[in-house]
Subunit: 239 residues, 2 copies
DNA sequence: GAAAGTAACATTGGATCCAATGAGAGGGGG
DNA sequence: CCCCCTCTCATTGGATCCAATGTTACTTTC
């Protein structure tokens, strides 16, 4: 299908705009729209079968969340994350997820621990099975990883905390980090074991350890992502 | 002057929309536009001397940041904060500001400590002088308070952290907390002394204590704000 | 042949238009 | 007397319009 108007079964108002923003965000997150790419209003409008008006409102939302940058009279481009900015953001995210893990200790149930363990195992299996399979494997992997992290955040019982973590996550396309973990067995194993350590701390009811393990894990993930963007920018300058 | 078009000297594009969003946000933050109030596009448009188009984009930005809610075909209203939501948000803010304080310890200079001390003293003096003077005193007080907190955040050296803290702050109108502190001498004194304790920890280079004091201070402020909203909602239901 | 100017084209951006939905008043029926 | 229906008005929301700005390719000149 050339357009996705079928999916947007005649929504209207805030619903339509939010939906547009969500779909554009997804395309950026998955890398379908690459970093630095121009977002032309007319093109997006025809893609989604609407006029430019709601598209522009959706772009404003994405601008506010920092995923795109809007230059006066030049339009919107997907933000290219600076490595230092990634490190800063992940330091914040690490602290927030550490808080979430600490809080989750007091509220987590046996069933939820099993759920988390299953998500982690699934993520590992997907990584092993999908080596080199490219985009779909990365996509599935990212989903399981998101399940793991968002589940802990939601168990924390603080909706604002979940939202704050999510807001940071939505700032950077993360298909790249999935790529790393899927294709590099060392990263994959480390990632799996870090999750397991967090799980153990949660199961033990050790809030301090859960927080520390989570903080360390997220910082490490951020470092990998920052490195990837460093590599990428130097490649771009060469190529 | 009836309109503020003078201030908006023919801006255009993202600059105009951002400016509109900023001005509307200010009016909400100061209470000039009260909580729960309807925001009519046509009214705002004529107030600012523009058409409804950029106003709608500005409203989308405010919607994304959570300050207003947009209901389909019914327009935008200023969000009325639920007390539990305020507590949750301030728990997050407390953690972020604690991190900022801890990080600031390693970077703060003697001059900056003096600056902070001056801001705190000014805030106290303004509170004493402005008792009962109403809106202007509250406004000045809130500004000095903001200086104190944003300065520490900026000293932390993590721009994302500053932004995350700011994003949470911009979610709730805070004229009310200023009102509390200006008019209640006990709150005023406690606020002053909490700031002093944070300053001492910063001056001593004690990251742990700075973080703990800051966390406690912000949680307490959040509790006050939440209480205020509780009181308000029960009053509204009676009146 | 290169650089600068210019003219056509593409794109953004605010204003305006009209359809659609919602709110409220007035009137008719139970 | 109260309830409900309908008609009208206010407001939102997407589409369209036109001016303004930016970009690119072509031409002209040195």
């Amino acid at each position: 299908m050339t357009t996705e108007e079928l999916a947007a079964t005649r929504k209207t108002g805030a619903a339509l705009v939010d939906d547009l923003a969500e779909q554009i965000r997804n395309r950026i997150m998955t890398g379908e729209i690459p970093i630095g790419a121009q977002l032309r209003q007319a093109e997006l409008a025809s893609n989604f079968g609407v006029s430019r008006t709601p598209v522009r409102e959706a772009l404003r939302q994405l601008q506010t969340s920092g995923l795109i940058e809007v230059l006066p009279n030049k339009g919107a481009v997907v933000s290219v994350p600076a490595p230092w900015d990634v490190r800063e953001a992940y330091e914040v995210r690490a602290e927030l997820e550490a808080l979430a893990a600490a809080r989750a200790v007091r509220r987590i149930t046996r069933g939820q621990i099993d759920q988390l363990r299953a998500a982690n195992q699934e993520m590992y299996d997907l990584s092993v099975a999908g080596r080199g399979d490219g985009v779909p494997a990365q996509h599935d992997h990212r989903r399981s990883n998101d399940v793991f992290h968002t589940l802990i955040a939601s168990i924390s019982g603080n909706a604002r905390l979940s939202k704050a973590i999510n807001d940071i996550n939505e700032t950077f396309p993360r298909n790249v980090s999935a790529q790393l973990i899927v294709n590099d067995s060392r990263h994959r194993d480390e990632n799996f074991q870090e999750h397991e350590r967090i799980l153990e701390a949660l199961a033990d009811g050790d809030a301090q350890r859960a927080a520390d393990q989570m903080r360390e894990h997220v910082i490490k993930a951020g470092e990998q992502l920052a490195r990837w963007y460093e590599l990428r920018s130097s490649t771009v300058f060469r190529g």
